[in-house]
Point group: C2
Chain length 471, copies 2
C-alpha cells in the first residue's frame, strides 16, 4: 500500500520527493532526513512542499517522530498550511508540549477550522489557564459549544461527540430533506445518517443515507425511520459507547442529554481511536507501564515506571523474607537454593497466562455471572493438569541432577501446589478487582506474582524443611 501513497505524493508537482513511507509502512528515513534538514535550515518553502500532499494523520505521525524541539518549529514554518487536525493524532504528552510552545493566537486560529469534537479533543488536555487563553480568542457561539462539551466528564461520550448534525421533522418528505441538505451551510464535514426529532428535539429515530437515497422524493421521512436502538447518554463512559459500536457494528449513534434530547453524534472514526486506546491501556497496564508513549521524554518515562518497579521491589522483598525463614535449611542443603527459583518462576508464568485471558474477557464482557463459575472451575482443572505434568518433569530433573530422590518429591509437590495457586490467583484476583470497580489490568499482575512467588518459595522450602527435618 505504500505504493499508492508514493504515487499520490509524487503526482502534484515535478519535484522528486522521497517516498513518505518505506516498504514496512514506517515513515521513511529519506523523507524524515529531508524534512529535518528543511526545519534546521528554516526553509519554509521546502517544508511546505514536502508536506503539501501529506495527509494530516501522517503529519501527526511525522510530528511524533521529530525531536521535541523540532515539532513547534515545523508547525511555525508551515504556518497556514498546517492543519490542526494533525494534533488529534498525537499522543497526549506530545500534544500538550506542542500547544504550550505555540502562541495562543496561532492555536485559536487553527482551532476554528476544526470539527467541534476535534477541538474539544485538543483543548481537554490543557490546564485551565492555557485553555481559557485559547477559548478567549474563539468567537462566542463556537466557544459556547466547546464549553458545553468540555463540561461533560473526561472520557465521556459528551467529550467525543460531534455537535453538528442534521435533524429533521418526521413529516418532512425525502425531497424536502434533500433540498435542505443542498442549501444548508454549516453541515458537518461528512455524515452517515440523519436524525428525526420532535419539536423538543427528542429523538424519534434515524435514517441512513443509503435508505434516503433509494427512496422517492415524495416519501415521508417517518416511513423510512429506523428506531434509534442504541442511544448513548452524553455522560456515558466512552468505553461503554465503544462497546456498543463494536457489538452492534454501528457507524454513528445519537448522543442525548439527561432529558433525552439530541445533543450530538458519535461517529465510528472517533470510536476506533477509543477502541485502540483502551486496548493499548490494557496492554500497558498489564506490562506495568502507565500511560507512557514511545515519544515521551526520559524524565517522564523514568518517573512513570518508578512506582511499578517499586511495587515489584516490595513483592521481591516479601519473597526474600519468605526465603529468609529457611536459612537453616538452605545452609544444610545448597541444592534448595539452586532449585527454588524454578517453582516460583513457573507459577508466575502460569498465573500470568490465566490472568491475561481473564483481564481481556472482563474488558470485553465475555466473563459474566452466567459463566464465571464454569471458568473458575476450568482454570482449576487446567492448573491441576499442568501441575501434574510439570511436577513430573521437574521432579525427575531434580533427582537426575542431585541424585536425591526425596528432593524430587519435594519439588514436585511444591510445583503442584504453586500451579494450582497460580490458576486460582490468576482468575480470582482479576474477578475480585473487577468486583471492587478497580481496573483488573492495572493491579492484577503485581498481586498474582506476589502470590506465586510467596507460595512457590514457601511451599518448596517448607516441604523441604518438613521432609528433611524428619529424617
Amino acid at each position: 500500500m505504500a505504493d499508492e501513497l508514493t504515487i499520490e505524493r509524487d503526482a502534484p508537482n515535478g519535484d522528486e520527493f522521497p517516498p513518505l513511507r518505506d516498504e514496512n509502512d514506517n515513515l521513511s528515513a529519506a523523507f524524515m532526513d529531508e524534512l529535518v534538514a528543511a526545519i534546521e535550515a528554516q526553509d519554509a518553502g521546502r517544508a511546505r512542499a514536502l508536506t503539501a500532499d501529506v495527509h494530516e494523520a501522517d503529519v501527526g505521525a511525522i510530528l511524533e517522530q521529530l525531536d521535541p524541539d523540532q515539532r513547534p518549529a515545523l508547525i511555525q514554518l508551515l504556518g497556514d498550511a498546517f492543519d490542526f487536525t494533525a494534533l488529534t493524532e498525537l499522543d497526549e504528552t506530545t500534544r500538550v508540549e506542542i500547544l504550550e510552545e505555540l502562541p495562543p493566537e496561532t492555536v485559536a486560529e487553527g482551532m476554528r477550522e476544526l470539527d467541534s469534537d476535534d477541538a474539544v479533543y485538543i483543548l481537554e488536555d490543557l490546564d485551565k489557564e492555557d485553555r481559557d487563553e485559547i477559548l478567549a480568542q474563539i468567537p462566542p457561539v463556537e466557544r459556547l459549544a466547546l464549553n458545553r462539551s468540555l463540561d461533560y466528564p473526561e472520557e465521556s461520550a459528551g467529550r467525543r461527540m460531534q455537535t453538528d448534525f442534521i435533524a429533521v421533522a418526521p413529516f418532512w418528505t425525502v425531497g424536502q430533506t434533500i433540498d435542505y441538505m443542498r442549501d444548508a451551510q454549516d453541515l458537518p464535514e461528512s455524515f452517515h445518517e440523519i436524525f428525526v426529532v420532535d419539536p423538543a428535539f427528542h429523538i424519534l429515530g434515524t435514517v441512513s443515507l443509503d435508505r434516503l437515497l433509494r427512496a422517492k422524493r415524495p416519501v415521508k421521512v417517518s416511513d423510512l425511520v429506523n428506531e434509534a436502538r442504541h442511544l448513548i447518554h452524553a455522560t456515558d463512559d466512552q468505553e461503554a459507547a465503544a462497546r456498543l459500536f463494536q457489538r452492534y457494528n454501528l457507524i454513528s449513534a445519537a448522543v442525548v442529554d439527561e432529558s433525552d434530547r439530541l445533543v450530538g453524534v458519535l461517529t465510528i472514526d472517533d470510536i476506533v481511536d477509543v477502541i485502540q486506546q483502551e486496548a493499548d491501556e490494557d496492554i500497558k497496564r498489564l506490562g506495568g507501564v502507565g500511560d507512557e508513549e514511545v515519544s515521551d521524554r526520559v524524565w517522564s518515562i523514568a518517573r512513570s515506571r518508578f512506582p511499578w518497579l517499586f511495587i515489584n521491589l516490595m513483592t521481591a522483598l516479601a519473597a526474600s523474607f519468605v526465603i529468609g525463614l529457611f536459612q537453616g535449611e538452605l545452609q544444610k542443603m545448597v541444592a534448595l537454593a539452586v532449585l527454588m527459583p524454578i517453582v516460583a518462576s513457573q507459577g508466575g508464568n502460569a498465573g500470568t497466562q490465566t490472568m491475561t485471558v481473564a483481564v481481556r474477557a472482563l474488558a470485553m464482557r465475555e466473563l459474566g455471572p452466567h459463566n464465571v463459575l464454569r471458568v473458575v472451575g476450568r482454570e482449576l482443572v487446567v492448573g491441576i493438569m499442568n501441575g501434574f505434568i510439570f511436577a513430573a518433569i521437574v521432579g525427575a530433573m531434580a533427582v537426575y541432577r542431585f541424585g536425591v530422590a526425596d528432593l524430587g518429591f519435594v519439588i514436585a509437590a511444591a510445583m503442584m501446589i504453586n500451579l494450582i495457586a497460580a490458576a486460582l490467583g490468576g482468575i480470582l484476583i482479576p474477578l475480585g478487582l473487577n468486583r471492587l470497580k478497580v481496573d483488573p489490568a492495572i493491579a492484577s499482575s503485581a498481586f498474582v506474582t506476589t502470590i506465586t512467588d510467596i507460595v512457590g518459595f514457601f511451599s518448596f522450602l517448607g516441604f523441604a524443611a518438613l521432609w528433611f527435618g524428619k529424617m
Copy 2:
C-alpha cells in the same frame, strides 16, 4: 445503556422478560437462566420468544456463554428464527464446534442470507471437507463468489471484503445514479460510498453518499469524485488494511486485484473487528497464551498453554544452572540465596516495561528508522537512572538486614548491571525480532526474562564470588 436495550426488548410483546444485560453490561444471570431452562425443556416457543428482539450480536454473546452442548441445541430450537450472522460474533473455536454439530443443509440454508464477507468469515475456519459439503448446497453464482474470496490468503483483505458494491461510470449524472440505486435489487445491506470505474472496472475514484445527496440531479458524477487515495490490494494483510483505516479515518475502502480492477469493498465494521483482534493477539502473546478464548474447553486450553510454560521452564532451568555455578559461595554465605531473587525479579519487571512499550510502538508503526536510535538511547538512560535509584535502595536494605556493608555494594552493582541489561534487552529484542519478521509480541517475553534472570543471578553471585573471594 442497558436501559434502552431493556425497553426495546420488553416492548414488542406483553410477556415479562428479564433484562438481557445487567447494570455492568454483562449478560444478566436471570435472562441466561430462563434461556437455559427453555433449552433444557426443549421449549422452542419460549426460546424464540426470549430471543425474538435480541440483536444477532447479542445472540452471539449468548452462545459464547452457554455450555458447549447447549449451543447447537439453541440454534436447532430457534430454527428459521436464528440469524447466522450471530456466528460471526463468536470465537473461532466456538464457531467451528457449532458448525461441526449442525447438519450441513441447515448451515448452507443459513449462509445464503448472509453478506458475502460474513459467509466467508464463517466458512474459512472449517476444514476443507466440511466446507465443500456446505458449498455444494449453495447456488453456483454465490458459490463462485465465495470461492473467489476463499482463494485469497488467510487474514488478507480479500477474505474480509464485501463483494456487493455500487459502481457507476464517470459520465453518469447524480440523477441517473440515484435512479439506478432506487431500482437495483441486489444492493449491499448498507453502504457509505459508491465507486466510479472505467469500462474495464479500473477504479477512478469514489463518491460519498453525503456528497451525492447534496448535489443537484444534472451534475455529473465525475464532478463529485474523490480520488481513491487509499486503495487496498486483495492480497494485502488485513492488519495493514486496518492500519490504513485507522490512520486515515476511513469508513470504507476499495479493494482491487492484481490488475487494479475493483473486486470488493472493505468497511469499517469488519475493520473494527480486525483492530480488536490484533490488539487481543498482542495482549495474549505478551501474556504467554496463544489464540485462547475464555470460552475454550479445558483440554484445548491446557494444550495451548503448555508450550509457553515449557519454554519458561527452560528459562528457569538456565537460571538455575547459573546459580548452580556458585554453590560454593551460597554454602559459605546463605544471605546470597535470600537476596538473589530480588535482582532477577527487578530486572524482569524493568525489561517487561520497556518491551511492552516497544512491542506496541512497533505494531503501531511509531518506532521506525528515524527515531529508533533516540528511543534506544532513551531506554538506556532510563535504565541507568532507575538502576541508580534501586541500587541505592536495595544496597541500603541489604546492609541493614545482614549487617554486611560489602553485601550492599555487591547487590547494588548487580542491580545496576541488571537494570541496564533489562533496558537494552527490552528494546533490542523486540527490534531484532521485528527485523527478522517475527512478531515481537510472541517471543520477546521469554527472551527478555531469560536475559534478566541470567544476568541477574550471574552478576549478583559473580560479584559476590569476586568480592568475598578476594578477602
